[in-house]
């Protein structure tokens, strides 16, 4: 009788306890989740995402999207990924890691991928002359990039 009356409590309270425990273990103890952050990107050799550094977009910066398991990043860099070289690439010891470069698939609809012409870069130094490439032109840019790196 008492069981029927408190049926919901008898089912839900243990489930809540299990869920809290497992969640605590997964996120706080084991760090078993993915963290995504912006990695360094060289627009001469790589297809980079571009982002404005200020509201008026007077300055821009380039980045890749890196996803790594939190526990791995923590072991390599501590709690902060800033200025941590190991956080910028996938190491053999990383269990789940990916670096995403800008491409038509990974870019947002209004986002343009950014590359620099190698010759211009050589003449003016990094970032002097930029060529903004629309998503639609991305395929030809990638071919050009491959030729440059070869």
């Amino acid at each position: 009788m008492q069981f029927k009356k408190h049926l919901l409590l008898f089912i839900i309270v243990p489930l809540c306890a299990i869920a809290v425990t497992l969640s605590f273990y997964r996120f706080i103890v084991a760090g078993d989740y993915i963290v995504e952050y912006e990695g360094e990107c060289d627009p001469i050799t790589e297809s980079c995402f571009m982002m404005c550094a200020d509201e008026d977009c007077l300055e821009t910066y380039y980045y890749t999207q890196i996803q790594k398991r939190a526990a791995d990043v923590y072991a390599e860099c501590g709690p902060d990924v800033t200025d941590c070289a190991d956080a910028q690439l996938c190491l053999p010891s990383d269990t789940d890691c990916s670096v995403t470069y800008c491409s038509p698939d990974s870019a947002l609809p209004d986002q343009a991928c950014e590359t620099l012409d190698a010759q211009d870069a050589g003449e003016f130094g990094i970032g002097i002359e930029e060529e903004i490439v629309d998503i639609e032109q991305e395929a030809s840019v990638e071919t050009e990039l491959e030729e440059t790196t070869l």
Binding site: A19, Y25, R26, Y33, A70
Partner: protein, 546 residues
């Protein structure tokens, strides 16, 4: 891991440059929900309705506090651990809202089957809370997990919210249609409050998540508007508490509302910056506090008066019950004495004590008649008392109603003849079988015919019986004194004398028609009176379903 682009909060929750609406929407809503939850629970810990409202308020507070943590904190592990329980907290809000509505409307707990359905709806979101189906990771740049939410967060709990809105609405409509007039306003109040809360909460929350994930909004600030739904809900619950004493609470309801209002106004200090605004809010706060103090005092006075009236009403009811018991006892005793006296007169009348002298005969006859009337009057009072206390049982069996009416009418014909009245009986020629309590129905029919005879000084009385489809109709029509509109309103009530009835019939107890009504209704029938007014005769109709 920390979101390195964001500022670490002060005292765990405070970040100066967050959207201004955030603290204004979260803090009062959380405080009000917690106050309401604990106050309702403390009013009556054992009442299921109170426990459910407490659960609802606490689930909402957990959700709101969690979102505040998500807005202000920068540690990925804390953020994800907290974020993983947003779905379960919202699911609890949905299910508890449905459960609360059921108990509020039905005034009892739900069945095992429904509890299992609730558990089945909650279980997936709890089981999958620690998995990637709820949350997979965190974007350290935006410091959010919108891009990593699994199906439970993107689909399941918003769907549960939508289900709760529809389910609660359906329950409200269903019960509103069946509810008596008195409880409809309670249903409207509770229903409006809970629907506004659910709709604003889930819509704002869904839009916040959806628009942010889709990239239409930079953050989920829009979600903050949903929290005002809780304040509206609390206000509605407060009205229910004060007006209808729902949740068995009284004065604290007014106090809680005032405290909530003060918290709401005071929380504006968290975002105002200009001196003018600070002064205006201070004045508003001062006025609200003063007005609140006055309001609480007047509510306190009103509640005290109401409690005194309720106490008086209870005392009166108790005294009334004791009086009924006493009257029952006295009438029983008197009935015994009068019956004994009538039997003695009867025996003298029959000559069992020898030949009665002629000079004594009229006195003996008068004594016998007077005692017979006395016994009948007392019996009528006792019958009414028994009907009122539910002591009467009805033994129904099939009998010929036509024969019964003919027999009763013949029995009373002598009274009509004595007054020079014409008694016309039109009950048809065929027997009319009816399943009912013969003894009780005789009382009712006799009462109606006898009434007509008593209240008709001259003219005729027409008794009719007929069957139309599945209805048997019995009527007694007379050319008597008639019934005024005013008398018509309390004709079938307990002790309901007409204004002039005691002038014509001094022995009227006022219980006759009350007894008739109860007997007819016990047979699922209807009885009513028709009259065009004073001096225009009357017609009493009884309809019995076959």
């Amino acid at each position: 891991m920390i979101c390195h682009l964001f500022e670490t909060p002060l005292y765990f929750f405070y970040v100066p440059d967050l959207p201004v609406l955030l603290y204004y929407s979260h803090v009062p809503a959380i405080v009000i929900a917690i106050i309401m939850g604990f106050f309702v629970l403390s009013s009556d810990k054992r009442a299921l309705l109170n426990q459910l409202l407490f659960g609802l308020c606490i689930s909402f507070s957990i959700w709101s506090l969690s979102t505040l943590v998500l807005w202000t904190n920068t540690h990925s592990d804390i953020l994800l651990f907290t974020w993983s329980f947003l779905g379960p907290a919202a699911a609890f809000i949905s299910i508890l809202a449905i459960y609360f509505t059921y108990v509020f409307l039905q005034k009892r707990d739900v069945g095992v089957k429904l509890k299992l359905i609730f558990a089945a709806l909650l279980a997936p979101i709890l089981i999958l809370a620690p998995t990637v189906h709820t949350l997979g990771g965190l974007n350290l740049v935006n410091c959010d997990a919108f891009g990593f939410e699994g199906i439970m967060n993107t689909f399941y709990y918003p769907a549960l919210g939508a289900l709760a809105i529809v389910w609660v609405l359906a329950l409200l409509i269903h019960h509103y249609r069946k509810a008596p007039q008195g409880s409809r306003s309670q249903i409207i109040l509770m229903g409006t409050g809970i629907e506004i809360f659910l709709f604003s909460f889930f819509t704002a929350s869904f839009l916040g998540t959806y628009l942010t994930t889709a990239g239409f909004l930079p953050d989920s600030e829009i979600e903050s508007y949903g929290y005002f739904g809780m304040i509206v809900f609390v206000v509605y619950m407060g009205i229910l508490i004060v007006r209808f004493k729902t949740f068995h609470a009284n004065l604290i309801a007014a106090q809680a509302l005032i405290v909530a209002l003060i918290v709401l106004i005071a929380s504006q200090f968290t975002f105002v910056r200009t001196t003018t605004n600070i002064v205006l809010i201070s004045i508003t706060l001062l006025l609200t506090t003063t007005a609140g103090f006055v309001l609480i005092r007047s509510v306190k006075r009103e509640i005290k008066q109401r409690e005194e009236i309720e106490k008086l009403a209870k005392d009166l009811e108790k005294a009334n019950k004791q009086q009924i018991i006493l009257i029952h006892f006295i009438t029983h005793q008197i009935k015994g004495f009068v019956t004994k006296s009538r039997n003695i007169f009867s025996m003298i009348r029959e000559g069992e004590f020898g030949i009665v002298p002629d000079t004594m005969k009229p006195m003996v006859e008068e004594g016998f008649k007077s005692d017979t009337k006395g016994v009948n009057t007392i019996q009528e009072i006792l019958n009414a008392a028994n009907i009122k206390s539910g002591k009467v049982t009805y033994n129904k069996e099939s009998f010929d109603l036509k024969a019964l009416i003919d027999e009763t009418a013949q029995e009373l014909k002598a009274n009509a003849d004595a007054k020079g009245l014409i008694l016309k009986i039109d009950t048809g020629s065929a027997p009319l079988m009816y399943p009912g309590d013969k003894g009780q129905l005789v009382n009712a029919l006799k009462n109606l015919i006898d009434n007509s005879i008593k209240y008709t000084p001259k003219g005729e009385i027409r008794i009719a019986l007929s069957q139309e489809g599945s209805l048997i109709r019995f009527s007694v029509e007379d050319d008597g004194v008639g019934i005024t509109k005013e008398d018509m309103t309390h004709l079938f009530t307990e002790g309901g004398h007409g204004a002039n009835s005691t002038k014509i019939n001094v022995e009227s107890t006022g219980f006759g028609l009350y007894i008739v009504k109860n007997i007819v209704e016990a047979h699922n029938g209807k009885v009513w009176a028709e009259s065009e007014g004073e001096g225009k005769g009357s017609r009493f109709v009884v309809e019995l379903p076959v």
